[in-house]
Symmetry: C2
Subunit: 602 residues, 2 copies
């Protein structure tokens, strides 16, 4: 087994917060310790401590030196008691899927598979169902706590600019009741399969922090189970809020089992991929029975959300005929091929109500796939794309009738001036169900840099109201991402999501920015590194030119050198202002500061 990355972040420790409704909750945060501010003023050194900065932490126990992780055992099944405690599930004697049962003895199989849970007959175990009945679940209180910034002692950092939310409705404090009401309305989801009890719940919705997803998974030409587990750990380390296992190669079932048992974040899949493998890659041979068994197989493993391309209707396919790049969604093109071969609507559409019944028995959330998303700028916002979006809205209504949690996938390749229309149409036609977009990429001409072409679009659409951003790595269009690509993609998307949170005015979003800028201004280099999204890279870039320990407190860096450091000069200026101010005060004058209407520095 290849090594799993477990080193903690520098100057950081894991802290857990308990609930009020549910005192047993242990909601994880990463707490970054800061150095004191040192000021030399008239020859006297004054040392002022700086508070810990609490940050949202997706990395699970892997970054906690107090916890031992054994990937052969899997993570602790913390949620199992919560699920069982609701009294509406049963432990099945065996897996419902024959396909699963046949693989249990396979040498690649995870050694410690839990017994599958399912809703008892006549019960609905979705978070939406509870929410609509007025029940606040442990999951809801958990995510409410998780969304908050720690504000105590942060007075100096709390200031932030007013946001522009384009109709979002973000409260000053995220309460468990607010979470419940958002889920009840369909405006947010907590993807949390009752069979993935290892996960640390998180919420996806326009009125919460913008989330990011990282795609991992092997393909027929590359990658192994070990690599995929490490990619999951690696992606969540850098900040992935969910991962999707898009494996299409060998051992799809087993790979997924290993990933889920070890994943602290929700896991999504596209079940049609595996169904296609079951029929030897021949789309036209897919059947509802094979697909249905695949859904149950994956639901009993604990997949938290399914991408289902049920909006690809027969009559929309000709709308793609004149496109520059046709159908670029894998699932979309598989279903289109099936529809044409059979000349009928897909079984995803015709059996949608039955799919809802499966979803509600395990609390799997829908991610209604945009099978007809544009794959090039030229195809953006075209008739095919928006026709499918309207159908996804109709399907959302059906899912909600079954109390099944639902989000909607979005594009793709879209030039900047057309991005907002995507958000507006989605809000309107899908009734504010959370939007989950891939980028969008704002130009087609930069393969090798598509994490950047798409981060530009992702930040904007996140600002406009998208709830989760699916990352794009530098390898997009060119090959399967490796670990470096995953890190680059995740950090890039954390930037986009955070920029969106700031622009929307999410309460407390600017605390980390303010803390880091304060550290920067005070030449606390270590704190600047530690507060950054990627402390290891920040440090190594600094040390590339100034590796000496002394440089970590120097009042300059190699970018400008000592004479040209503006921050160093500003120190002098402020002292100058202070001295001038004192001088003038003695003379009964206070020219500088009064003229500018500014209070004096104290």
């Amino acid at each position: 087994m290849q090594t799993i990355t477990t080193r903690p972040f520098p100057a950081s420790r894991k802290k857990h917060v308990s609930g009020i409704l549910y005192p047993e909750l242990k909601v994880p945060f990463r707490v970054i310790e800061q150095h004191a501010t040192l000021e030399v003023w008239n020859g006297v050194t004054r040392k002022t401590p700086n508070p810990d900065v609490w940050v949202y932490d997706t990395s699970g126990p892997y970054t906690d030196p107090d916890q031992t992780v054994d990937v052969y055992t899997g993570l602790s099944q913390t949620r199992r008691n919560w699920v069982l405690g609701r009294g509406d599930v049963e432990e099945l004697p065996d897996f419902s899927s024959e396909f699963t049962r046949n693989l249990l003895q396979d040498s690649q199989t995870f050694p410690n598979i839990p017994r599958p849970l399912r809703a008892r007959s006549g019960h609905n175990v979705t978070q939406m169902h509870y929410a609509r009945r007025g029940i606040i679940t442990p999951e809801m209180e958990y995510v409410a706590i998780r969304e908050q910034e720690r504000l105590e002692g942060m007075q100096e950092y709390i200031q932030q600019h007013a946001g522009q939310g384009f109709g979002a409705n973000i409260p000053r404090e995220i309460t468990p009741e607010f979470v419940r009401s958002e889920i009840a309305k369909g405006r947010a989801i907590i993807p949390a399969n009752i069979n993935h009890t290892e996960l640390e719940p998180m919420v996806i919705g326009r009125n919460f922090r913008v989330k990011i997803n990282a795609n991992i998974g092997n393909s027929a030409v590359s990658s192994s189970i070990e690599e995929e587990i490490e990619k999951m750990v690696w992606a969540t380390r850098w900040g992935a809020d969910t991962i999707m296992d898009l494996s299409t190669g060998k051992n799809i079932h087993q790979t997924r089992e290993w990933i889920i048992r070890n994943s602290p974040v929700p896991v999504g899949t596209v079940p049609i991929y595996q169904a296609l493998e079951k029929v030897g890659g021949k789309a036209e041979e897919l059947t509802w029975e094979i697909y249905r068994d695949t859904l149950i197989e994956q639901a009993e493993q604990g997949v938290d959300y399914f991408t289902i391309h049920a909006g690809v209707l027969l009559r929309y396919i000709p709308l793609t005929a004149r496109r520059r790049t046709g159908i670029v969604s894998r699932g979309g093109s598989i279903m289109a091929k099936w529809c044409l071969a059979h000349h009928q609507e897909s079984f995803l559409y015709t059996h949608f109500a039955e799919i809802c019944e499966i979803m509600q028995a395990y609390d799997v959330s829908f991610s209604l796939g945009d099978g007809l998303r544009p794959g090039s700028l030229e195809d953006a916002n075209d008739a095919a794309q928006f026709a499918e979006l309207h159908t996804l809205g109709e399907l959302t209504r059906i899912a909600w009738k079954h109390d099944v949690q639902t989000m909607i996938e979005g594009p793709g390749h879209v030039p900047m001036q057309l991005i907002k229309e995507n958000m507006d149409e989605q809000l309107k036609h899908c009734f504010e169900a959370p939007f989950y977009t891939l980028g969008p990429l704002t130009t087609d001409i930069a393969p090798g840099y598509d994490h950047i072409t798409s981060a530009i679009g992702a930040a904007q659409i996140g600002w406009y109201g998208t709830a989760m951003l699916c990352y794009v790595t530098p390898k997009e269009h060119l090959g399967l991402p490796d670990k470096n690509d995953v890190r680059e993609g995740v950090i890039t998307y954390k930037i986009a999501a955070h920029a969106a949170d700031l622009a929307k005015g999410f309460p407390g979003a600017q605390i980390r920015d303010n803390a880091l800028s304060k550290a920067r201004f005070e030449f606390r280099w270590e704190d600047q590194f530690n507060l950054s999204l990627d402390p290891e890279r920040a440090r190594s870039f600094h040390d590339a030119t100034l590796p000496a320990e002394a440089a970590k407190t120097a009042h300059f860096c190699s970018m400008c050198g000592p004479h040209f450091c503006s921050m160093k000069l500003t120190e002098d200026i402020r002292r100058g202002m202070q001295e001038k101010s004192e001088e003038f005060q003695e003379k009964g004058l206070n020219i500088y500061l009064e003229a500018a209407g500014v209070e004096q520095p104290t």
Copy 2:
């Protein structure tokens, strides 16, 4: 001397276009050759050629195997005849600056320095002056040709989405007369010092393509002359439209000379840096006389634009007292320190008219520096920043009275929801003089990735109307960029600028996107690489998993593998539609296509 990068781009050759008003012009383009499209249809292979794609080329003769470059000689002084031909300049017997004269025998001095030119007494040699007198210069026709896309034979690629220009006024065709009128109005500049006759003229203005600048230059702790020349060549290779030499270390004068003599793009500087070196780094010892001599020294070398922080007024400095990060512009902090020490307005402000007289004698353009730009989100759009912007507007009026070309520098660190206000204020208070912004960075928390935090903001402000984007590299805030950082920064900013051109609807902007997407869809991997902003990286990323030559025509890549390639599936779908269509046509039906209101594929 370290090796200068001269390899041409793959499948590319340099072509030159001559003028109509000035037939001797040789306006450079890079022409990318494409492979033919191969279609197998009913067993017959049809080969359809694809046209050459012409792209804007900033790389000068370095990427042209037909030209020999010798950095000891410098580039051809093509513009010298144009300048002399206007009959309004004189060749000086010697350099006006004593500082320059003293360095001529220095061992580091460039061996082939041209004799300096200056406007004859009573003459004004700026492009703005000519433009206002109705004269279309060779420079104006040159940039008009350069801004155009080559449209002949591109019918299949010409389609693009309508732009949203926020009041920009981009014509369908850029004519020399349009260039002249934009320059006359102050809405555009052609930075082109009469002493930098090696340069290939380019235009900066809201109604032209968005440009990017790359900062190079040594600092006291790093870098050599050789490295800086190669950085210039390297930056323009990847697409820098101008470079700024921000050297603050040793041999500033000589480094600049080598760069200018070898630079095909305009070179900007911040003269106060060198002036500060002349007084041993003590800001308060700066004088107008030293600064004035530095301006003349640099103007006679051929610097094309000067960043001058003349808007830092005494009364604005206290407005920065409560800022999170004070004054972060190097020039701004130097001038603030001077103002405070002397308790008077800076010589940049008090001698502004004299500075204009120097500018007009050499046609150096102003880049009015934003010395009080915000260095952290918290300081964005504050009183200090906007107070200075208003003063820059007043100075623009004075510069324009002298017919001196002027652009305005902008921030900095700005959260997304506050970016547009920057553009709106600038347009309003600076009368549509071109805006030239640094990013802006949309969050402070990602040192090591600030090319990305800032590209998000740069694309937006470019869309809103900024004419030139100053790049930010991954090393921002951490150290001096190396070659890899320069490449990463330039490509990232080309993406932002191009995304802005697309969003504004610049005519022809989408041609390259359409061509690349067509190549992608047709599995012309080589063409996909060759049409991209960084062909070398695109190819190496692809080859990381599928290095074999055969994979360059394969109908899949390692991202999805052969069974899951949506584009491969779309081919099948289109054939399916075609066959169905034929089948139904025989039966007198045409269900698919008519239902969708789409013409049949032919």
